[in-house]
C-alpha cells in the first residue's frame, strides 16, 4: 500500500505535527523571554523591587477598601438620598485633589534648589518624589500634573512656560520622613545630583503644613473619547 501527501490521513498527520511544532516554538520563546527578567537582577534591585511592590500593594488595598465602601453605600439604596450626594461629593473631591484639579494641604517637605541645575536633574528630583510616595507636588506655584514639563538650560529653567529664578522651591505633600529619607539616602538622587550638577545646592526641609495650588491647565481631553 502506498500513501502520498495528497492523502487525507497523511495531511492530518502533518497538520497535527505542524501544530505541535508551532505550539512548542511559542512555549519555548515565551519561557525564555520570561526567564531573563527577574533572574538577572541583583539582590539590591530585588530588595528595592520587593519594597516597592509591598508599598504599592498596600496602596491598592486601601483603594479597594475605599471603593468597596462606596459600592456598599450605593448598593444599600442610598443612591436616591443625601448619603449618595455626600458620597459623590467626597469622591469628586478625592479625585480632583489627587489629579491636581483642586488645591490641597498637608505636611510634607520643601526642597530649595539654588544655583545652575539641568532641567533633567529637576525632572529626576520630581520623579524621585513620585516614586517615594509624594501625593501632590508643586514647583514654585505650579502644581505638577502629568503634562508638566521642565524645560530650558541650566540657569534659565522654566515650568509650563513660567521662568524659574536662580533659586526655586519644590514642595511635596507626603510623609516627611519617607520623602526626606528617599531623597537623602546614600547613593540617592541628591548624592547623584551632587556629582552631575555640582554647582547646584539642594536643601530639604520638613514642613508640618503647606498648601499646594490647583493646576491652571485644562486636563479635559479634546481628542480622546471615553471608551465603553
Amino acid at each position: 500500500m502506498t500513501a502520498s501527501l495528497g492523502a487525507p490521513r497523511s495531511q492530518a498527520i502533518v497538520a497535527a505535527v505542524a501544530f505541535l511544532l508551532g505550539l512548542l516554538v511559542v512555549v519555548q520563546i515565551r519561557s525564555q523571554a520570561g526567564n531573563n527578567t527577574l533572574a538577572g537582577m541583583s539582590s539590591q534591585d530585588l530588595t528595592f523591587l520587593v519594597a516597592n511592590l509591598n508599598t504599592r500593594n498596600d496602596q491598592l488595598r486601601r483603594e479597594i477598601a475605599t471603593l468597596q465602601s462606596q459600592l456598599a453605600t450605593l448598593e444599600s439604596g442610598g443612591s436616591l438620598g443625601a448619603s449618595s450626594v455626600n458620597e459623590l461629593r467626597a469622591e469628586i473631591d478625592r479625585i480632583r485633589a489627587w489629579a491636581g484639579l483642586d488645591p490641597v494641604r498637608g505636611r510634607g517637605i520643601t526642597i530649595t534648589v539654588s544655583g545652575p541645575i539641568a532641567a533633567s536633574a529637576v525632572e529626576d528630583l520630581v520623579n524621585e518624589l513620585k516614586n517615594a510616595g509624594a501625593e501632590a507636588i508643586s514647583i514654585e506655584d505650579i502644581r505638577v500634573v502629568p503634562q508638566t514639563v521642565i524645560g530650558g538650560v541650566a540657569g534659565s529653567l522654566s515650568v509650563d512656560d513660567t521662568a524659574l529664578g536662580e533659586s526655586f522651591t519644590i514642595r511635596a505633600i507626603g510623609t516627611p520622613e519617607t520623602l526626606t529619607g528617599s531623597l537623602a539616602r546614600a547613593g540617592g538622587i541628591i548624592a547623584q545630583l551632587a556629582a552631575t550638577d555640582p554647582a547646584a545646592r539642594i536643601d530639604v526641609e520638613e514642613a508640618s503644613r503647606m498648601i499646594l495650588p490647583a493646576t491652571t491647565r485644562n486636563l479635559a481631553p479634546s481628542h480622546g473619547r471615553p471608551r465603553a
Binding site: 501527501l5 538577572g40 500593594n57 459623590l88 479625585i95 489627587w98 505636611r107
Partner: protein, 253 residues
Amino acid sequence: MTTLAGRLRAIPTWQVTLGLALFALGFLIAAQLAAEGPRVRYTTQERSPLVGTALELQQKQVELRAQIVTLGEDIQALQDEGEGTTAIVRQLNDRLEAARIAAGLIPLSGPGLVLSLSDSTQAIPADGSEADYLVTARDIRTVVAELWLASAEAIAVNGERVTTSTGVLDIGHSILVNSAYLAPPYRVSAIGPQDLLDQLGLSQGWREFIQTRAGRFGLEITFAEPEVVAVPQFAGGLNLRESRVVPPESPSP
C-alpha cells in the same frame, strides 16, 4: 551505493517532510524539558527567596488592580442607574465623570501614535557602558515629556497610564512604571491631535534624543499611527493619606 541512493530517492516526499518535522518536534521537546529542569532547580535552591517574594507580590498586584477596575466599573454602573433621579445627583455624576476623565481613571481612545523602544542590538565597544545601549527610565521620561510638549493628552507605557503620581525608574535591566514591572519593548501609546507626529518631529529635544539614543547607541525606535489609539485607565490607588482638600475660600463678610 547506487542501490542506497536509489532507495533514498524512492522515499516519498511527504515522509521526508514528516520526518523532518518530527525531528524538530523532538528537538523542541528536549529543549523545553532541559530549560524547565534548571529553572526549577534555580527557583527552589539557588535563586534568592527575594525572587519568589517579588513574583508573588507581582501576581498579587495584578489581582488587586483587576479588583480595582471591577469595583470602579460596578460603581459607575450603579451611579449611571441613579443618573435619572434628581438634578443634583445628575449634576454630581457629570462632575464625577469629568474628574475621572481628567485624572486618567477612564480609558480613552482617539487619534494618536504608538512609539516602540527596544534595546540596542549593536555590539558594545570595550570602552562603552552597557546602560547606554539599553532603554532606560530616563529615555521613557524623555519620550513622555516630548509627547506632552507635542500636545498629547493621554499617554500609557505598556498599558500603564501616565498620571499625576506616575514615577518611572530603572530596576535591573527593566523599568518600573506605576510600580508595575515592565520589560522591553516599551510601547508608548499617546492620544493627541492628528498632527501629533509632525509636532513631535518639530521639537529640537526630540531630534537630539533620536540622534543620540537611536543614531549613536542604536536603540530601536519605531512608530505607528493606527486609526485609533487606545489608552487604558489608571488601575491603582489614589494615594491621599496626608493631603486634605482645601475648602473654597468663604466669601469675605
